[in-house]
Amino acid sequence: MPLARLIPCLDVAQGRVVKGVSFVNLRDVGDPVELAQYYSAGGADELVFLDISATPEGADTMVYVVERVADVLEIPFTVGGGIRSVQDASRIIEAGADRVSLNSAALATPQLITDIAARFGSQAVVVAIDAGESVVYTHGGRVATDIATVPWAVEAATRGAGEILLTSIARDGQRTGFDLILTEAVRDAVDIPVIASGGAGSAQHVADALRVTDAALIASIVHENPAGLPGLRREIEALGIKLRPLMERV
């Protein structure tokens, strides 16, 4: 298996990073491009950008953000939020994103997973699942569906998804650790990579998740102290998780 991945997630609305990112040494804390470069230099293995504005104007702005990010970033990145058609996905991928993440649109039209995978390959399609106690939620975790989490993950994989981004709604933002039971259940049910999300509060939490699955999404733990990312990596490594070695920029 490739090395475990640490993936900071940035929420973006109207082209700006939202949610409290605490910052000292950036010119513009709200610029997704600057923050992406900062996290990349700090040792992020990948990045995820979620467009939470979900408006037509927001989508156009997001394409522009993706182009600017692609021009300066030399690590992979995924873009989610508001992608409802093959055409939406094409615009984002042609702008330079490596993968698109589908959530509600995949639940409404599972064929969308297959169609995007056929055009760009499975590695370009992430299905994001917001999981409650047993069923999947939509609308940012506010609306319950009658679709059970594990079977939905299996269906997504069967339809051509190349990765599952699994968020525990109950743990999201709580910083009490990932839902390892949920993560394990999905990991065991599918043969594609699974990113654990929701609950990262310490290096120990992340290390625990990375013992269970391929990658961990981190948000508030890193946004509160972006300069702490290299230190967080070292702590995780000290707990026995092997991450990629970072080389000095020349």
């Binding site: 298996m1 490739p2 090395l3 475990a4 991945r5 990349s40 293995d45 182009e67 692609a70 021009d71 300066v72 970033l73 030399e74 690590i75 992979p76 094409s90 991928i93 042609e94 702008a95 330079g96 994103a97 490596d98 056929a118 055009r119 760009f120 390959g121 499975s122 590695q123 370009a124 190349g162 990765e163 043969d191 594609i192 990579p193 391929d214 990658a215 990629r244 070695p245 970072l246 080389m247 000095e248 920029r249 020349v250």
Partner: protein, 184 residues
């Protein structure tokens, strides 16, 4: 400083490759024009999309023959991911696709615990860690480097192909690209 042609086969993401080249101070153009592909100082065959549509596109535009001519004239070509697999004899992808045949061997479906194989992995004997994202892999006697036992780089004559994405491999990737380009 010599110009680089990034071969266009209609599959989208050439932007990241060009961004990495710009970062290294190289001028690059995206083109399927046979004359440019045959004569440019350096040519990169990038890698996103499916083998069948990529080969159809390369055949239609004349880029496929230009790449064969270029290879016969011993001029350098770098293939990345699918771009490497397209240089093999054939690919198992899409029910079987005849490829350029610059290299011996086939692209076969990966046999790995999780597919696609996504993430950073060491390449031996080079020692550096690069980013991979693939479901198929070369089975080729021209393999010159491996990652977790899988072919990670192939070389024959003036063609060098890599399974990983140097343009997405941070400092290690830029260093690799620079070393490729510094020879021309």
């Amino acid at each position: 400083m010599s110009d680089v042609i990034v071969v266009d086969y209609g599959a989208g993401n050439t932007r990241s490759v060009r961004a990495a080249l710009t970062h290294l101070g190289r001028t690059s153009y995206v083109s399927a024009e046979p004359i440019l592909i045959a004569d440019a100082p350096y040519v990169i065959l990038p890698g996103v999309g499916s083998a069948r549509s990529a080969m159809e596109h390369l055949d239609e535009t004349g880029a496929a023959n230009a790449l064969r001519e270029r290879f016969a004239a011993n001029r350098p070509i770098l293939g990345i991911c699918l771009g490497m697999q397209l240089a093999l004899r054939a690919s198992e992808e899409d029910g079987g696709v005849k490829c350029l045949g610059l290299l011996e061997g086939l692209a076969v479906r990966l046999d790995a615990p999780r597919i696609p194989r996504l993430g950073w992995a060491a390449v031996e004997p080079w020692g550096d860690v690069f980013y991979f994202a693939h479901s198929f892999v070369a089975e080729s006697p021209d393999t010159v480097a491996t990652s977790e036992g899988l072919s990670a780089a192939v070389r024959r004559g003036s063609f060098l192909g890599v399974q990983f994405h140097p343009e997405k491999s941070d400092v290690a990737g830029l260093t690799f690209l620079e070393s490729c380009l510094s020879r021309v």
